[in-house]
Symmetry: C2
Subunit: 290 residues, 2 copies
């Protein structure tokens, strides 16, 4: 069978943690002829990725003129800083994709770059609360959504190769404006990370005796607080880049909590009931999400 990479053989993964490493695993499995080169600021990360067989070789940015495909999966502030340099260094036929959780600043960083048409901006909505090469797993992207922004700014041939690759690893594409992406993703992803971190903080602050938390905490608590295990290195730049949207969602969330508390303080438990009943509707919305 023709590989999912449409003949793109030399693949450079800049960042080989949860997302970059999982992409590398899927690509290598589905298209064994590719050579995956890993690039990272940290030598230890490269060695770990090699030991885990996520990459075939170590490389540096000075090698990417040989790349058919460059996959950028690093914190979003690093992407904004590095993307113009990456485009400077690639050849005319190279496809560059990023996997950042914000899209506006990243698209803006290369909007006037002469090689803008070599870049496809995307956000594969997949992940776990873990990070680093050891977090990479097979089939992380299977059945997940890949939000693609400004697809019209990417060269036709490279669009085609990218879509074939990401369909090949099991994703469904959705197309969106970067500004709309950042606004909606603040609600369905960024806010839930903050709610989870602050829930974890509230409980840790109160419960100095951790044995008690451990013994009394249910799987429900574990589920709600799971995202508080996420990497601050990755999430701080996301909150910074998407500051205005995230603050707006936080305000609405805080107001809803304040209102719920007021209903309880006023002993209006009929309204408390109704708040929950109305929100149960989330069941139908979530039915299609794993």
């Amino acid at each position: 069978m023709a590989g999912v990479c449409s003949g793109m053989k030399q693949i450079y993964a800049i960042g080989i943690g949860l997302i970059g490493g999982s992409l590398a695993k899927d690509i290598k499995r589905l298209d064994p002829e590719v050579v995956i080169h890993g690039i990272s600021r940290k030598e230890a990360t490269l060695n770990e990725a090699l030991a885990l067989n996520l990459i075939d070789k170590k490389a540096t940015l000075d090698d990417i003129h040989k790349a058919d495909l460059v996959i950028v999966s690093i914190p979003v502030d690093a992407t904004v800083a590095l993307l113009p340099t990456i485009l400077d260094k690639i050849s005319d036929h190279t496809l560059v994709v990023d996997a950042g959780s914000t899209k506006e600043a990243i698209c803006k960083s290369v909007e006037d770059h002469p090689k803008r048409r070599n870049f496809l901006a995307m956000h594969p909505i997949a992940g776990t609360e873990f990070s680093g090469p050891s977090a990479a797993i097979d089939n992380l992207f299977l059945g997940k959504t890949n939000i693609i922004c400004e697809v019209e700014k990417t060269a036709f041939k490279l669009q085609e190769k990218a879509l074939k690759l990401f369909e090949g690893i099991g994703m469904r594409m959705r197309y969106m404006h970067p500004v709309a992406h950042d606004k909606h993703i603040a609600y369905v992803s960024h806010l839930s990370h903050i709610s989870s971190f602050m829930l974890g903080k509230t409980v840790i602050e109160k419960e100095k005796n951790e044995r008690d938390i451990f013994d009394m905490a249910s799987s429900g608590f574990a589920s709600t607080v799971r995202l508080a295990k996420s990497s601050p290195e990755m999430w701080t730049p996301i909150f910074k880049q998407n500051k205005d949207n995230v603050i707006e969602t936080l305000e609405e969330y805080i107001n809803n909590l304040i209102q719920f508390k007021a209903l309880m303080e006023g002993d209006n438990f009929e309204a408390v009931f109704k708040e929950m009943k109305d929100t149960n509707h989330i069941r139908d919305i979530l039915n299609g999400i794993i």
Copy 2:
């Protein structure tokens, strides 16, 4: 082998939803000689429980003088209202246990009852976001914690039977004062339900176009908002009974969110990073929880 029920044959389950139904399943599997009688306000629930083989027979409160064991798994306001009547009706040898998520009001409701020593107050910390007989599953309690309150107020023989039963279905016992239970459980269970309901509400309010939520929402969002599927019929009385503790946790949670928002507004992303880094510590705390 001797059954987990220590010869208690006639078991009456008052309430046969997620908790009562799952207990009935485990007991029947581990001690097939028992007869499980179901009691519910709703005939439809009884019929469903019969069809699902959760119970062997339908019964009413007037039958419980024949009970060896009565398991009360109904909303906590109904438990407070009904528990004195249940104790009125049982025989001298009957063991009564409840499974409510609050303990102070329930213990208080029978503190002076002449049959107080027939009652064991407990809170098996297990569940899912589903409810009703169809939510009952095998081994829901395996490896989970069972908080037992005021154990010293239960007759020795009945303590022994209860502990043998709940150890038999795989639970580990922890002993706590009802006031301490209600205070701690507000943090590790009740608060996370509200954070989840309000997160669901915030997103639903904003995202009228549900298809967009569905497509962009990640498994992380699904995990954080999972508890917003929970039953308002069960949770409203819990929040009412544990009002003061829950309001206290909500205040602390809201303050932490407001502070996080202020850090973002002030562009103090070093502090944002630190907040998350410090809370990552939840990883170690959660390691033992499924």
